[in-house]
Symmetry: C2
Subunit: 234 residues, 2 copies
């Protein structure tokens, strides 16, 4: 059931150092254009935040100032690891999740939501390199591009955030609005190669990217195991 | 022929007020990860630039400071109109184009390149609402998602910039590198609806978005006609 158009929607997304900017900017394109809504970009302060590849973004507002949101977007990227024990971030996510209609994670943003305790018993997805980390947060890894489990919506790696954002728009305002935004965005993708997922990429490409992600993947696994010991022992 | 890996590539992209951020941030994801390259975000100053939907981006450097680039990315969005007679911007584009390997326009960034005089006799594409504007700049409108005409590469609306960026990467560094980035970005798109192009969108959706773009389209046509009179009369 979508939300009546006369109800104003508050949508917000977190940015953070060494995030993957596309996890945020892809969904922003649709989410910031939801009819009768406002979008807030959120971080600890209003200083420039550099993404993993150096793009500089600025927050509009800070955690303390954000009202209850209808939708909270949580992107990922290597910098996600630095937030996994950051109570300022985790308690913000928990607090917002308690009242939000949807929490929407993109890529390894799912792991941050996991560290906030949101994933217990939930079906979820994340970047394909990090799927094995999800169970450490009590989630049920689900190999789909976008997964909806109640309030929690998750998209897979990076660009899957665009697909997921159109689904979130359709949940909020219906399919017509989502299709209007899709046409505006000319989202009729034609990838020039067939290497976009582990299932379609040539073996050698898959091996290269798996190896390139090995250090961060091991770190994510270790963080997840530490979380599990802590929760299990509580 | 790709460029030997030991040659460092300088890649840069312009940002500007009321741009469509996704025209820039989509391609950034791949272009900022080209092996042995650096990426510069460029504007007149280092103050925050707000895109059409309010996202705040910051430039790393200014027009005067940018060395000769190998690739210049020119995004679009409604704010493109304000640049069409801005000699600071247009002369920068002309100067860079004279020495760049590629000029890569996304969405209505093609019109800015047109105003800079780069499109005479070139096959090019742009956002579908602006295709009729291209001939006013001497371009040959080409209804493909990504068009390559010599040094000039153009992508259609908004998200087509992602497809085009992988093609630019393959031109620079070969298909293996482009496929590695595609897998990293999990670019295996699954649009939830079939409304991403005028050919696939339901008639009512097409009518809505065409109407919503009417004022800016008329403005773009008028700017293009003024350009043509000026050039024709020169």
């Amino acid at each position: 059931m979508t939300i009546p158009l006369d109800i104003h929607l508050k949508i917000g997304g977190i940015i953070f150092p060494n995030m993957d900017q596309c996890d945020f900017t892809g969904p922003f394109e649709a989410l910031a254009r939801v009819p009768n809504s406002s979008f807030m970009t959120i971080w600890k302060d209003r200083n420039p935040v550099r993404d993993l590849a150096g793009m500089q973004l600025l927050a509009d507002t800070t955690f303390d100032e954000v009202p209850q949101l209808d939708v909270l977007l949580v992107p990922g990227g290597y910098g996600q690891e630095a937030l996994m024990n950051d109570e300022t971030v985790l308690s913000f996510i928990r607090r917002q999740a308690a009242g939000a209609r949807y929490v929407y994670s993109v890529c390894t943003g799912a792991l941050i939501c996991g560290a906030a305790g949101l994933l217990q018993g939930k079906r979820a997805t994340t970047h394909w390199t990090a799927m094995d980390v999800l169970p450490l947060y009590g989630a049920i890894p689900t190999d789909e591009r976008v997964v909806i489990d109640g309030q929690f919506v998750s998209a897979g790696g990076v660009t899957s955030g665009i697909d997921g954002s159109l689904i979130v728009v359709s949940l909020l305002r219906g399919e017509t609005v989502a299709q209007e935004l899709q046409l505006y965005m000319a989202y009729d993708p034609k990838p020039p190669f067939h290497a976009g997922s582990p299932a379609t990429a040539p073996d050698s490409i898959l091996a290269t990217i798996t190896e390139r992600a090995r250090a961060i993947t091991e770190k994510r696994m270790a963080t997840g195991r530490a979380y599990q010991s802590r929760i299990g022992g509580a």
